[in-house]
């Protein structure tokens, strides 16, 4: 007769970046079932859209999450611009995509640090976050904020980066890639890291398709789900874009996909900087959002995020809805938690890159 114990995991836990509660039903160090509870960080941000001017709401939208903050302001701006028919200047599109790629680099470096911390390797965690400081300093130099940028607005961006600064950014990113090598070697080759990541949370391609997984979580199982392939904004001006895929499907593959995405993002930024045109960066929107609906998608660091707005002619939007990537990947999380070792629970939770504050808004 096996004895089942129920261990409460979260909401406060050192390995979790954001609060989620899981009741883990254990049978002798193997997890049989995981029962999630959400709602610890629900702030009702979607309801606020009825009370804030559509121009002011962009500052609320970017505070949905700290890690993917720029992506949310970008998605909201894109959605309202589509609804109102506002044309965004070309230079603004390039700048937005440069900031979005920088956001992706900083998010993946943060995730790598958290993963290392999750399997007890503090030194690797510190080195990964030290590289992230380079990106945060770039954010601060160009926009004034390290995490909440307040730079994307409906009709363009609030600030310009002149071409000298853009070249300096490319030099900084080269320094980042230099410091990145020992970290990637450790993640991909070290024996003790392998012993923690190999075979952990395996999902085959069919299972991933069934659950419709998004982001690097799905790409590690071979799903081609990168929204940047569609070519919205400045992504359409890139010479070629291939999403990073892997066929292995376990924790090691997810790490590899995210590590490669950082390198790819640096290359994308360099290409955008070399192609950026001159021109204005802001096109002030006139009037109020008309009656109608609009839906747009953005490739956040964690996956595809869908933004839907509905206007009714007044200066308050009637509805704003975000379908965040983590809320889509939670089903995958519950699937990989079944049957895993207790020691692997934090790693499994971390490999989906949970951003619970996006999920609960």
């Amino acid at each position: 007769m096996s004895n089942k114990t129920v261990i409460p995991f979260g909401p406060q836990h050192p390995v979790l970046p954001e609060p989620i509660h899981l009741d883990l039903v254990l049978e002798d160090e193997k997890v049989v079932q995981a029962v999630p509870q959400l709602g610890f960080i629900h702030r009702g941000l979607e309801k606020i859209v009825e009370k804030r001017d559509y121009l002011h709401f962009v500052y609320v939208a970017e505070r949905i999450c700290g890690i993917c903050s720029f992506g949310h302001s970008l998605g909201y701006s894109q959605a309202v611009e589509g609804l109102m028919g506002v044309e965004v200047p070309e230079r603004a599109e390039y700048l937005r995509d440069i900031w979005q790629e920088l956001s992706r680099i900083h998010s993946h470096l943060l995730w790598l640090g958290l993963l290392a911390d999750g399997f007890g390797y503090e030194n690797l965690f510190q080195q990964a976050w030290r590289l992230r400081e380079i990106v945060l300093n770039i954010f601060e130099k160009t926009t004034g904020g390290r995490v909440i940028l307040s730079v994307c607005n409906i009709g363009g961006v609030n600030r310009d980066i002149d071409n000298d600064e853009l070249r300096a950014i490319c030099d900084d990113l080269d320094k980042l890639l230099d410091g990145y090598k020992p970290i990637t070697e450790t993640f991909l080759d070290d024996a003790s890291v392998h012993s923690r990541l190999d075979g952990v949370g395996y999902l085959s391609k069919e299972e991933a398709e069934d659950l419709s997984l998004v982001g690097p979580f799905g790409r590690a199982s071979g799903l081609d789900n990168d929204i940047r392939s569609i070519g919205m904004g400045a992504y359409g001006k890139l010479a070629a874009f291939e999403p990073q895929l892997s066929n292995i499907g376990d924790g090691y593959a997810r790490t590899e996909v995210r590590i490669n995405e950082v390198v790819q993002s640096v290359q994308i930024i360099k290409e955008l900087v070399s192609k950026i045109p001159d021109g204005p960066v802001y096109n002030k929107p006139k009037g109020n959002p008309p009656e109608g609906r609009f839906l747009t998608r953005v490739e956040q660091p964690r996956g595809e995020a869908v933004y839907y707005v509905k206007g009714n002619g007044s200066k308050f939007l009637e509805r704003f809805r975000v379908r965040t990537p983590t809320s889509q990947n939670l089903a995958g999380l519950l699937k990989i938690l079944q049957g895993c070792d207790y020691a692997d629970v934090p790693l499994n939770i971390l490999t989906i890159d949970p951003c619970i504050s996006c999920t609960e808004r």
């Binding site: 114990t5 129920v6 261990i7 409460p8 836990h13 050192p14 390995v15 160090e29 290392a116 911390d117 999750g118 399997f119 007890g120 390797y121 503090e122 030194n123 690797l124 510190q126 080195q127 030290r130 070290d190 003790s192 890291v193 012993s195 923690r196 070792d341 207790y342 020691a343 629970v345 934090p346």
Partner: protein, 293 residues
């Protein structure tokens, strides 16, 4: 009783260990945190930080989970202190090793008594870790007997050659399991120095206030004992062997800090497997060497 040191010297060593041991252990602990921080590129806490921590812990309100946890932890501390005192007095190494194991058993029992899921899991893992390092610890007195003919620690001091010459592979196997005893990566499954793991803080999750302070002090005593065993491999009747022992202890200390910073925490199966394989292979080879030479 074989010829060893005079009894008054033993008493002096015992008193020195009891009184100065925790201070030396605290300094080693503090320097270890500083070296680890510097290896990670941080500034690190001041060297006296463990003392400040214990002072703060003693000043906290009493909020133990139950009445017996203090008793178990205090017993564990007592056993560890007696083990160390016996070791530095030159006593029987087997008794020292058994007392150390008994001390860990009491720590495990105190963790079970807290009846929380994290400390239960931490106690189970501590059991497994003890199983991982016990074989080599029990084989050390055997090695000593084969070389010096006695189980007493003070028999090494009258030798001409240090123990390490006859038992080098035992020494290496002992170094291999030292991270498990010192609660460092890669073998810090049950509890580590930071609360950054899946079991929050494992064994000591539900200990706070003066209970945790007693655990810290026990750590200090144990650190001195663990490095003392390292030194035991190197002392001889020559006066300069003591200096050599201290140098080797410092080198091992730095090596431990480096290993802590270059390995992730491994799971219990890997811990058991690697520790037993290393122990069996190295010790078997060494014993064969000792028997046939």
């Amino acid at each position: 009783m074989e010829a060893g040191v005079a009894s008054w010297v033993s008493w002096v060593c015992v008193i020195a260990y009891l009184v100065l041991g925790p201070f030396v252990g605290m300094l080693i602990s503090g320097i270890d945190r500083k070296v680890t921080a510097r290896m990670q590129g941080r500034v690190g806490p001041p060297i006296l930080q463990p003392w400040y921590d214990v002072k703060k812990l003693f000043s906290k309100d009493k909020s133990a989970v139950n009445n017996v946890i203090d008793l178990y932890v205090a017993t564990a501390l007592g056993m560890a202190v007696v083990a160390g005192a016996l070791f530095f007095a030159g006593g029987n190494l087997l008794i020292v090793i058994f007392l150390m194991s008994l001390s860990s058993v009491f720590v495990v029992v105190s963790a079970y008594s807290a009846r929380s899921p994290y400390s239960d899991a931490g106690a189970q893992r501590e059991n497994l870790t003890v199983m991982a390092y016990e074989p080599i610890m029990l084989l050390l007195p055997v090695a000593m007997y084969l070389i010096t003919g006695s189980f007493n620690v003070d028999s090494t001091i009258v030798q001409d050659l240090p123990l390490i010459v006859g038992a080098p592979l035992f020494f290496l196997a002992y170094l291999f399991v030292m991270p498990a005893k010192l609660r460092k990566s890669p073998f810090d499954l049950s509890t580590s120095h930071h609360a950054h793991q899946e079991l929050v803080k494992g064994l000591t999750t539900d200990m706070s206030g003066h209970t945790l302070a007693i655990m810290e002090i026990m750590d200090w005593y144990e650190v001195v004992l663990i490095y003392g065993i390292v030194g035991m491999f190197l002392v001889t009747s020559a006066w300069w062997s003591w200096i050599l022992a201290i140098v080797v202890m410092v080198v091992c200390f730095l090596l431990e800090a480096l290993v802590d910073n270059t390995f992730a925490r491994v799971k219990w199966k890997v811990t058991l497997a690697t520790s037993w394989v290393v122990t069996l292979v190295f010790c078997a080879l060494n014993m064969a060497f000792l028997y046939f030479l």
